[in-house]
Symmetry: C2
Subunit: 561 residues, 2 copies
């Protein structure tokens, strides 16, 4: 009889204690892995008012039951409290690191405490070692990665995480990022430079034939999906540029406009035509949506980064974006918040930091992100964030579902919670009317729940262009031997979403923060505040929340105390 088991590696940086614990099976069944498991473990570990940069704040890494076996499962998650937003925050990255962690035998790694001096952690299967990082402190992501990669896959912070920039990323495998919300800052506050991990044991699968069958379905669906095989595979995420701009949902000049006229170099077509592309992918990915300039051997920016350093600061020079992206990756900076912060500063001060990204790290104001700058300069009407996390490159004014998803996101202005970009822009799994409030509340809830589940399996979100909960349930059942139906998968997502919300409410972040930047309610493309409020009300009703707070009954139904 296969039992669904999971191991937790608890590492204390203060005491240098290392302990392996087993994760109760009911926790795995209720939260799966990845985001769900991370959120559950984090919720159970801390008081909600914890200071994110205190020694007591743990940083939790997780993988899931599919990690390292299914296609597009080469991912891991980190969860902690965000120094940028004060909310619970999960972040999700591809590459090889997650697969190594899974193969090393762990479903979760909890990093507690704070090292006295800079260290890095070296994990080789059951062996866990602390090493001095004195020689690496101050060194960039590329240097650190090259130095440590012979020991395994490297997740490291750059200067941003060391210096307390509030939106520092944790970079793994050189160019993959746990990007948003400052988990690199949390890592830096612990004097932890890097975690290098190597695993060599393929995880067992409960029902191998069923799992293989589910994977066959998955591969066929991925290969058949036009947005995947004709879009992402060819152009990468830059495929989005033209359609987003065409639909007038391209936030431009710090969200003062919704369309950018100077972006001839910014489209997927341009890149394909002007660069010799090398296609790179995460572990186990048949798509390889990451594009590199093969001649110069440098990574090219994702759509979000193109937007952040392009339209949002009225820059049409692609090479400047390529350069800013590399500087962010080397320093370990979240490109979305970096771009949004530059845009805010540019609007306030007229200065453009696009070509001085390195200087942000030691800039006493820029390092705090756009919300704190806007507040400091009494310019809250210029804000483009929600709960402190800056909106990415899909304008809520022209995407009602995405707008509602932004506003109700538990980690602030994130496009990936309901990822309404798929139904409202790409038309997958089904085109819906982007400029209507009708039915949006229900769909946003369902898509938020679904994506919380995908983040817990973990699979790449782009699988959602081709697959639905039906296929996810089949994969999960095959891998674990526990029977999940499509509804069960959504239910897990719902549980996660409610637990995150509960944490935030207890941390003082409730329904009042479920709103959009003032800018989006004004001007010629304004979203009607009445329509927004109506959608929000319906959303709460559908969630069985009161004023943004989960009701006792709801929590009980979900098995949350």
């Amino acid at each position: 009889m296969f039992g669904w088991t999971g191991k937790l590696l608890r590492i204390n940086l203060s005491t240098k204690n290392v302990k392996v614990e087993s994760i109760p099976e009911n926790v795995l069944q209720d939260y799966i892995g990845g985001r769900g498991l991370g959120v559950k473990l984090y919720y159970d570990s801390v008081a909600p008012d914890i200071d994110p940069l205190s020694e007591e704040n743990p940083l939790i890494f997780t993988v899931g039951p599919l990690t390292g076996t299914a296609p597009m499962s080469g991912r891991h998650v980190a969860v902690s409290k965000s120094p940028l937003t004060g909310t619970i925050l999960d972040s999700n990255s591809g590459g090889e690191w997650g697969k190594e962690m899974k193969y090393a035998g762990y479903d979760a790694i909890i990093v507690e405490g704070k090292a006295e001096n800079p260290v890095y952690i070296r994990i080789n299967n059951e062996k866990v070692e602390f090493e001095s990082a004195e020689a690496l402190w101050g060194k960039d992501v590329e240097y650190t990665t090259r130095k440590l990669e012979r020991f395994g896959s490297v997740a490291t912070i750059g200067a941003a995480g060391e210096k307390g920039v509030l939106y520092a990323a944790i970079m793994n495998d050189l160019t993959h990022a746990l990007g948003r919300g400052g988990l690199g800052t949390v890592m830096g506050s612990k004097n932890l430079k890097a975690i290098v991990i190597k695993g060599s044991n393929k995880p067992p699968i409960a029902a191998p034939n069923r799992y293989k069958d589910a994977m066959m379905d998955m591969v066929k669906l991925l290969e058949a999906s036009p947005p995947i095989n004709k879009g992402l595979r060819v152009f990468g995420t830059a495929m989005l540029y033209d359609i987003v701009n065409y639909l007038d949902v391209m936030p431009t000049n710090n969200f003062n406009d919704v369309h950018y006229n100077g972006g001839e170099q910014l489209s997927g077509d341009y890149i394909v035509e002007h660069y010799e592309l090398r296609h790179e992918g995460c572990w186990g990915c048949p798509i390889k949506c990451k594009k590199w300039d093969a001649k110069r051997n440098i990574e090219l920016p994702e759509y979000e980064t193109i937007w952040a350093f392009g339209p949002n600061i009225e820059n049409g020079d692609y090479e400047k974006i390529v350069n800013a992206n590399i500087r962010c990756n080397r320093n370990g900076l979240d490109t979305i918040t970096t771009g949004a912060t530059i845009a805010m500063w540019r609007e306030l001060k007229g200065e453009n930091y696009l070509e001085q990204v390195d200087e942000i790290i030691t800039h006493e104001e820029l390092k705090l992100g756009s919300m704190r700058i806007a507040k400091k300069y009494n310019a809250v009407e210029k804000r483009t964030d929600i709960k402190g996390l800056e909106l990415p490159g899909y304008d809520p004014r022209g995407l009602y579902g995405q707008a509602l998803s932004y506003a109700t996101s538990n980690r602030g202005g994130c496009h990936l919670r309901a990822y309404m970009v798929a139904p409202e822009i790409i038309g997958k799994p089904k085109l819906i009317h982007r400029l209507s409030p009708e039915g949006k509340a229900g769909l946003v809830v369902i898509f938020q729940n679904l994506n919380a589940a995908i983040d817990s399996l973990i699979l790449c979100k782009f699988t959602g262009f081709a697959m639905t909960e039906v296929e996810y349930a089949k994969l999960l059942s095959g891998a674990t031997g526990v029977e999940y139906r499509a509804e069960d998968v959504l239910r897990v997502g719902e549980r996660i979403y409610n637990l995150e919300r509960l944490f935030n409410v207890q941390a003082g972040i409730g329904g009042n923060e479920d709103t959009l930047p003032e800018k989006t309610f004004a001007g010629s493309h304004a979203l009607s505040r009445d329509i927004f409020n109506e959608m929000l009300e319906q959303y709460y009703e559908f969630r069985e929340w009161k004023n943004g707070v989960p009701t006792e009954e709801k929590l009980k139904k979900l098995g949350i105390n």
Copy 2:
């Protein structure tokens, strides 16, 4: 320059006049073909209060721009006013007949008037002949088909259409049916026994490379789709039986229950295990969802028929259903209405006509369908129809979206208008919560519009398990050379839906008829009337209808005068 042209063949049975007209390009662009074109031509031809069985009532056959070239495009539509419901009614059938009509060069055939004596029409490309059907009158579908098939593909009525049974079908290619709403009755009232058609010219395609590319996408998506290639392909529509019963949405005993316990023989698994299946398909279909008993060379029933002659009359004997299905096909009876009428009679009178299907045709009460029987016996609380058309085998009490779609259907209790079976049961294109009203109004509108468009291309509705409006738009653009985006496809569907509704309102069938049978609002599984009314109100709002009537502004926006 490719112009999108369409030819209309006008046949007058009274005068024996035959005329070929061209269809204005703007009509084709606005209504595409199939259902849309049929509805538009019909609307422009008659006064809404026309008697469906009068000489003046035309019967219109249509095909679409994809017919006979794309996979799963071997379909045709007929439109007229239904003698059963009094609404405008389109019906849709597979097989070879539509492909022959398209290859004969026609996009529409309007049959007007009434023959003095029974005739059949023989069409061979541009040649149209009237032939006596005296020798065929009274003969069944099989006899007639075998007799005429050397001239081409045969669409014929059986005894039901001759004798004025109000739910007579037009059968083509032996076992395919324009089933619902009594278009066979309309045909019979014209003394028209059959239309035999042969075409030999493949229609031109505006942008062949683009069309081929779109078809490649389509084929890949179909082959990758689990409900298609592991469901329909293997089990046919009988694949639905187990899941529908499991979810307690199996209308049982004339809708007095929602679950049937005696159906061990009725599932897809049973059929696969106990019969040697031969897989049959419509023209150009790679799926072949029609199952035949290879040994006896007889067709096996579809899910709807299994339900109608199974759970709905508490019969678990599969062979009795097989037999009743064959009797219906030979007589040209709609199996859903036949089964529902038997169920009504059984509840009222205790008599079961399952094994006497032939007798229905001359039974003065049974031939009128269940609504008229219920009214006659003062038992309107026992009704299971909407607007006179009986509900099929998906219980609205456990499928809120399907419930709303039933109620607002322009042809009465039809499951294929929004076909919420796909999202609410199969989870395609996306699973939605079947027991929640949230968002249903918006989705039902979108799916009703989408399906009106699919019926106009025409493609098989099961393509919707794998494809979305994005792919439909691409096919349509490739075939016609007119640029359609996904939104445009939905817009055409919206136009059709509004025009149908306008006709019904003018015929005296308005918002008051947008409701469900009383039975579904009562009993232990009752659907809440408040919830239903709330969904309906939201639906009207989203449609921009007042009390079920399209507003002037809405019609104007859609280009309907």
